[in-house]
Symmetry: C2
Subunit: 883 residues, 2 copies
């Protein structure tokens, strides 16, 4: 028989999964002998059971709850609903992972028309009793019974107005009795029933409400953002109330053992005398700094400091605590590892290692790898942000905060930036012609396009904040304005972008610069991380600048250079277009040959930066229609260049139309039909590598990567062209340079037949963006129409494009690794999809036995840390599944 | 050490894989003691080795060839290149599977300037010797050395003209010497070398040419059409020449032991006196019926008949034989199972069972299942077809032959058909509004669209010939003409379509009706097939008529009813459009509810036809944009109906645009966002089933199929809606009807996680069209741009949409079956993709343990036969891999 409820003394910190964080720590503190109001925890399994039973609490569970309640009554010497000395309790959620503010809390439960009088008599403070009751009615009605809070606020305002007073605390006991009466009427009007008087009914309703709150919308969103599974459930903590609002010798507060903003080793917090927790939050009175307590209640303060130190030493981590002083007696209501900024996390971890409290491994494991983003990109000043107005939300395409004046063309954006303005480039969608404007901008906002759109990919490479696919915008690029959030923005108006959260703000919000330069704590943690990390971290970079940035961040090679991005520059795109329009092989080769010097130059630049680090160059991937002009002028000009009629050019461009371009004529399919492309790119790579090798003496081994393989024979066909050309170049240049020819793994069939593919391919690099699309059968650009409903219905708990779907896509990756290694022992395995920068996906890649992950430059530090954590997790838990 | 060459007496019929069909049968006939010119066979493995060694013949292999050549010289008492009595040989290809005319043949090899004189002297017939030599030079130059045949023809014409003669046989020995001289000059001009005089060089070049011919373009195409793997290779048969052109007591001919057109048990064939094989083919003289031989050479004829009977009895199959009479002596050059029409195949199989020659199992195995298509659809009259001109080739979207006058709109097509015309409907692409015109047409031709386009799917359902995606057409629908093959066709002009081969012909080619009605042989074979068949055959049918047709063909249920096809009818499409434009759930439900009577009526019609056979109804699958109007009038009218502005309607329609609609908002994704759709369809299905059950007393168990599942939770979400609605309907109707809710398996992820999906799904039906698209990562509609190159380069040997890709897609199917059965023992497994009607795919399905295959009505007989063959193969070879 399952046990659904634990009294605090039955639990411990180790039982976090069952009791939730709050429950486990209350148990632990109880066992440490600290002053904790007693109570019990309904388990997370009970929550899961509640959902499994069609949202009902079983008789058995209810019996257990009432048994623990009876035990609590005995310990407290009070009875639930008692007319003289009633037991009151708080009912609070608490899941395995901390989800602050996401779920529900009910205080003062147990009050009714009778027990409120007992409380008034016992405390000798009728005002306190009635105030507690009216708070309870409002909270219970709102949180448990779904009666709008506004209705109660309105009544309270009316009564205060009729009495001519301003503050709640000016209300007399009699006033509060009037409030109670009218509150109960609101309840009755809305629920067609009297406010429940039976405390046991109140308790069970409250517990059910906490269970329900696990699946409220904000909790679901929070879980998705923090990778918390929906089947964990929440525990419910039922705890005897202590009162901070019993007069001047009472109070309540929150504190951190160290400063959560910067990590300084100093108690940090605040408290309010004569108040309950909600008053601190409500901000009606300004709380006092925690150190004030030393003067006001010195004995209490010393005890408080002593306990905070006990807790930090016990948990070996910075603690975030809630406490209440009831008539001079100190109670701790909660302790947990404190949330902190990335800077503080680094400071605290380094300090604690120096203090001998934790090891360097602990320090590495302690940092949330994702949080490093804060250090790598500008962020908003929290105070300025608090005053900001969100006008739109869309895809968080490239992290960081940015504010500036809006411009609608690359040219005007560049001019404005050159004139010293901070600029936000706003476009329907970006195209390669916009590169200069994108470079000049602080941030980029597009109306169309997904996480792998041109804007998104380029912005991530540059480390520029970018919000994509904001479909709510109505834009008129020609007349230079856009509408969003009910407001019209003209050229030069200010907006701010949060590329990390995918939000658009009105106006110019102050930002704080990235803080990685010279950050000694960051360097120290990275050093420790590299000590334990076992797989390599490479970067996705298409240009020498990006490569240089990534090297600064610790990249150990390039896992993906997208050659097509080089084609878009103004001096090259005409050649590509000529190639596409060429009526025969000879003219196609001629156009392509004209591109060799450009491509070779690009590759040389990258080789010069990367030295002997490996560089993987991917051959042309997108369908050709992405390169052809769409506006009439460009078409006319192209026709003239080609000696063709405008109609002929249009006909060819139209013939490139595809029903599903993502699954069309692209990747190595282009090289099967136009082997000239592979020849040209091979020549450029090989000549560049040989020249840099000769000039600089680097031992360069080019890695040529063929995209979109689905079949061994098709890969071999292209590989044969590459090898033939490479050998020709070697002969011409009298070079003995070595090189590798491998493939992207992004088509399910290639993963299924990876043993065959590995017979020909020297390496696999998993392109998990496309692999995810094919495996799920949905295109990333089209999921917008339904994915929110999938989150809402909890069909998906996280974005499979951000966090690798381990059971589906991961199965294919795993299988491909196994088959690949079997067919070609020592085959090089890597990942170059977006997932290469996601910590949970990196852990998967480590466990699958990949040799490296590759991610955008600004994700390199995150990947280094996450890879170290993966290795340490495996060491701890024996999770290693590869050989 | 491998053995690359076998003398005829070393082989046998069982060695077909190694020696090819021709070589194995020459060996077998040798061992039967029949009169065979001796020789040897270079094996198929030698051919494979030739390709593996980069198209070179190893020294070892050459040595073996020359050893066997020496042995042959000894047997024949002649020497290669001898000046007195030279040995001449033929060099002919012969692969495992018969590929008539696909590869190369060289006759008279061994002649040179010297041996031709020996031959002249020995035969006493110089004209014969020179004629043989000039034929050899031409054939060797053309076939082996790639010198165009035309050059030789031209010279021959010139000489005949200068001599004032008409026929080759009028050329004198002296003339032929002149021809030889000029032929050799052509060779020298083109190859910069003298015509090879060394017979061993000639032989090795000829053998290499035969190896090469395995990969000529027509052989590759033939293999793709006949599912012959490219790695089989061809054998090469080197055989002593015998001469049918040595005078009036010589001749050559071909014969069949039974009539290959209708199967009559009677010798059938023809011969030519004083001729070599090529003369028979060339058609310069009309050959005589084989029975004439009885009069001309009675002794020879009796011997001939005796041997044909020996061969048929020996092989237990109708034989196709080549023979030569050299100076009164009969030689057999080849025997093989004769190609035959489907009618003949049935007749022969049934006769042979009756004659006690073969068993009913043999009879079932003997029929090429695909060939039944000939009986089920009209075909062209072969004689009329021979005179036809192909003007275009495109996708063979729906089999059968059709001829008629072209019309460009559904309305004009219908009117013309009503007026008694045979009509071909020609459209850019068809849409649901064209249904009536499609029904009226004999055949349908479209410019755009693939094998799963609207035109293709509808045509297959109706059994109407259809050629799709003929991109070479320039069409002007408004002005009612199209251009193809350099000619313009106006309304009323005749064209003919071959939907089986995907060809378009000029003019009105006579057709022969389908011959299945009352075909006793067909019924007999089907009866035998059903006796051995172990899996069910269902049909894909969207309407009662189609269901009825399929029942006649022996379908045992419906595996796929596509409900969306019902939405397109003129009285329904407005409701669907209202549903799409509805601003809220209420209005959406209202629009949907208006559709219930229609859907219910459709389902009732199907249930009434199908009785107690199972019927699987698939819920709405395509993206909504397929239902919205595109022309201005329809948009305006819709806007009026909806009380919206034209712009509002356009905005909504535009918002439905998707980048990759195949991977967009469709299938059950629609039902997650609009649960109302699933509710409406469930209600229609359940009400229809209950009503027909009550009215007719059938025990109906509806099978509701949810398309596009990729995740258990998403399936469960939709299933819960279905179950809730179904239970509601049952309650309303006071019915205890049972029903199943299952899923299409068409997303790779669903196959990978099939165990999870099976926890919720009562059945799986593999939608192998979409599954193939996702697994290969290419969209069927977009492969046209590159797939031909893939065939040409032999990357793919067959169309994965026609023949299931067993190693890739098949892996997923297999895995899903295993995981599904493990999680839900007894889960119902079927296939409803196009592959359900393809024999090799059916065999795969049988071996994977599927319970049924489902295909279009006109493929049902093929599937029944193929399923029986699969069961018999498994019985023979123990191929069964399921439990």
């Amino acid at each position: 028989m399952a046990k659904w409820v634990y009294e605090f003394e039955e639990g411990s910190a180790e039982m976090r999964n069952l009791l939730g964080g709050k429950g486990a720590n209350l148990a632990e503190m109880t066992n440490l002998g600290l002053p904790i109001p007693q109570g019990f925890t309904v388990t997370t399994e009970a929550c899961t059971n509640y959902y499994e039973q069609g949202k009902t609490v079983s008789k058995e569970m209810e019996d257990e709850i009432f048994k623990c309640l009876a035990s609590l009554e005995k310990k407290q010497g009070k009875s639930f609903g008692d007319t003289d000395n009633p037991l009151l309790v708080s009912v609070r959620s608490g899941s395995r992972a901390s989800m602050p503010g996401m779920m529900d809390t009910i205080l003062n439960l147990g009050l009714n028309d009778v027990s409120v009088e007992g409380m008034a008599a016992k405390s000798g403070n009728p005002r306190f009793a009635y105030d507690s009751y009216r708070r309870f009615i409002q909270m219970f009605s709102d949180v448990v019974m779904d009666v709008s809070k506004q209705l109660f606020e309105k009544v309270l305002e009316e009564i205060k107005e009729s009495k001519g007073i301003h503050y709640d605390y000016e209300l007399t006991a009699a006033d509060l009795q009037e409030v109670i009466k009218r509150y109960k009427q609101i309840y009755k009007d809305n629920k067609n029933d009297d406010f429940p008087q039976d405390p046991k009914v109140q308790l069970m309703e409250a517990i059910r409400a906490v269970f329900r709150s696990w699946n409220n919308e904000r909790a679901i969103i929070y879980r998705r953002m923090n990778d918390i599974p929906g089947d964990w459930g929440t525990a419910v903590n039922v705890q005897a109330m202590v009162f901070g609002n019993m007069g001047d010798t009472s109070g309540t507060g929150v504190a951190f053992t160290r400063n959560p903003s910067n990590g300084t080793n100093q108690i940090y917090g605040e408290y309010l005398a004569n108040a309950q927790g909600e008053d601190v939050v409500a901000g009606i009175r300004t709380p006092n700094p925690i150190t004030e307590m030393a003067k006001e209640w010195p004995e209490c303060y010393n005890k408080f400091i002593e306990i905070t130190q006990i807790l930090e030493k016990h948990y070996k981590d910075m603690q975030d605590m809630e406490f209440t002083v009831e008539d001079g007696k100190l109670y701790f209501l909660q302790t947990r590892a404190g949330k902190r900024t990335a800077s503080a996390a680094l400071q605290i971890a380094v300090d604690m290692v120096n203090e001998g409290m934790i090891t360097d491994k602990d320090a590495v494991l302690r940092i949330d790898a994702k949080s490093l983003d804060q250090l790598l990109h500008p962020t908003f000043d929290p105070k300025a942000l608090a005053a900001g107005t969100v006008i739109g939300a869309a895809l968080p395409a490239s992290p960081g905060a940015a504010a500036g004046k809006v411009y609608f063309t690359a040219a005007t954006a560049k001019a404005a930036a050159d004139a010293g303005n901070r600029v936000i480039l706003v476009r329907l969608e970006t195209s390669p012609e916009d590169i200069e404007g994108m470079h000049a901008a602080e941030g980029i906002l597009t109306v169309r396009g997904g996480m792998t759109s041109h804007a998104a990919v380029v912005a991530r490479g540059m480390g520029t904040a970018c919000v994509c696919g904001c479909g709510d915008i109505t834009i008129n690029e020609e007349e230079k304005f856009f509408k969003l959030g009910g407001k019209t923005y003209n050229e030069g108006d200010y907006i701010s972008l949060d590329g990390t959260a995918g939000k658009v703000y009105d106006g110019d919000i102050a930002t704080i610069d990235a803080t990685i330069d010279g950050n000694a704590n960051f360097s120290q943690i990275m050093k420790w991380a590299d000590k334990y990390r076992k797989i390599k971290v490479r970067t996705n970079a298409d240009a020498p600048d990006e490569a240089r940035k990534a090297l600064e961040f610790g990249a150990e090679g390039i896992g993906l250079t997208r050659t097509e991005h080089m084609f878009f520059e103004p001096d090259r795109i005409p050649r590509i277009r000529e190639m596409i329009l060429a009526p025969n092989v000879e003219m196609r080769e001629k156009a392509l040959n004209a591109l060799i010097p450009f491509q070779k130059g690009d590759f040389k630049g990258i080789y010069e930066v990367m030295g002997e680090f490996p560089v993987t160059i991917r051959f042309l991937d997108p369908p050709l229609h992405e390169f052809v002009p769409t506006d009439e002028d460009a078409i006319a000009s192209l026709a003239k260049d080609m000696g063709m009629t405008v109609q002929e050019v249009k006909d060819i461009c139209n013939s490139l139309h595809e029903f599903n371009p993502m699954m069309g004529h692209r990747g190595l399919r282009l090289m099967v039909t136009y082997p000239e492309i592979a020849k040209m790119q091979t020549r450029a790579v090989m000549e560049a590598a040989i020249e840099v090798k000769n000039e600089k003496g680097f031992n360069i081994v080019p890695e040529i990567m063929i995209p979109l393989t689905g079949e061994k024979k098709e890969f071999k066909f292209v590989k044969d062209i590459v090898v033939e050309t490479a050998e020709l170049v070697k002969k011409e240049k009298n070079s003995d340079i070595e090189y590798l020819v491998g493939t992207m793994m992004e088509i399910p069939r290639a993963c299924i037949l990876a043993d065959e593919v590995a017979e020909e391919a020297a390496f696999f690099s998993f392109g998990t963006n496309d692999l995810t699309q094919m495996t799920f059968g949905f295109s990333r650009d089209d999921t917008g129409k339904f994915i929110d409903e999938y989150y809402k219905q909890q069909i998906y708990e996280s974005d499979p494009f951000a966090r690798l779907d381990q059971s589906g896509v991961g199965f294919l990756v795993q299988m491909a690794c196994e088959k690949g290694r079997k067919a070609r022992p020592g085959i090089k395995l890597g990942i170059c999809g977006e997932h290469g920068g996601d910590p949970s996906s990196i852990e998967f890649c480590y466990n699958a036995g990949l040799d490296y992950v590759s991610c955008s430059p600004f994700r390199v530090p995150i990947a280094r840390l996450a890879a170290a954590q993966a290795a340490l997790h495996a060491e701890e838990g024996g999770k290693v599944i590869h050989g």
